[in-house]
Symmetry: C2
Subunit: 199 residues, 2 copies
């Protein structure tokens, strides 16, 4: 990797951090590209050089954020499928959220609420949805092969788990379900009763 690429990606990382901080402080509705520039340590003109509008910037933020949060990296390939599934769930529907995890989830949720009106956002969330689907399906496939999981319809089970994860997080963030996550307990019970073999 040459120095130019290194520097560009370092600048990009810093822009993304600034965006995250501004989004966390102000929320989407009050976010301006100026507010992001205010959080950015380097020259403001560098930021304006890369991005014309807050939406351009936020699409890149989503791509970057959803990649960092990417499901592929969430699991250790040397783990057993059962352990992989647990790690995956701890990432996407943890039993409780610390302040940073909550702030990230809230920021992503607010951006997600714009996806119905914004095609570029919708593409990013579709991409993330596909990555989650494929990762879960892979874990299930391996678990069935290795006898840790029952022989279930992989696509159906993946869809079901994925909707429970998204619905559980939505309900957690937007209702008075404030401490440990009710949905995670429900999901764990479901997995024990319907997916794990009795070994």
């Amino acid at each position: 990797m040459d120095a130019d690429v290194d520097e560009r990606s370092e600048t990009q990382r810093e822009i993304m951090e600034a965006t995250y901080c501004a989004l966390r402080t102000r929320g989407y509705a009050d976010l301006t590209i100026q507010a992001i520039a205010d959080e950015f340590a380097k020259s403001k003109s560098l930021l304006y050089y890369h991005y014309d509008t807050k939406d351009d910037l936020l699409v890149d933020f989503l791509e970057y954020g959803l990649d960092r949060f990417a499901a592929e990296d969430a699991v250790d390939p040397t783990d057993s499928p059962t352990a992989q599934l647990e790690t995956f769930l701890d990432d996407f529907l943890p039993a409780s959220l610390d302040d940073d995890q909550r702030a990230l989830q809230v920021a992503l949720f607010e951006l997600r609420s714009q996806a119905p009106m914004n095609e570029a956002y919708r593409e990013q969330f579709s991409r993330a949805d596909r990555i989650i689907h494929e990762t879960l399906a892979d874990i299930l496939e391996r678990g069935i092969e290795q006898g840790e999981f029952r022989t279930v319809d992989i696509n159906y089970m993946t869809e079901l788990l994925h909707s429970i994860i998204d619905g559980g997080m939505t309900r957690h963030l937007t209702t008075a379900d404030e401490t440990t996550m009710t949905a995670r307990r429900t999901l764990d019970t479901y997995i024990e009763s319907n997916l794990l073999t009795d070994e």
Copy 2:
């Protein structure tokens, strides 16, 4: 009911309709109380007399909208539990959305994205969440009593169905799942395999 109350509730209904139209056209981020006043046929001062800020108004809009959409009214008490469950799901996770249903869901979803930061919104969504929970639990209880449903843990099953409904709608609105709703098919399969008795 006296004429004053009638007129007040008629005015409220018109304010709520104006809010819905403004929200639908502009989205939450660009919504102003002026934009709502522009959609309101009666005197603007009447609207400003009732509400100081857009957030005051939107809390009432949520209360009104979630009441109209209330789960209690979604089911016919003379129906069988199986038919009640289907009507309920057709309301909360229909197999497809027409333009008006989609616009309402998108507006509610955008307001919901503000709930983590806004306690008054969060209270409204908590209330709606409880109503949905209680309605579903009642249907399940009757269905078990009448032998249409298997003897399941009602609270667990209610939580599971509720998260699938919310997650399914979120995924539908924010990804490229644009025609018939994948999550509804998954949910129907789940209910057939895990809830309905074989009669």
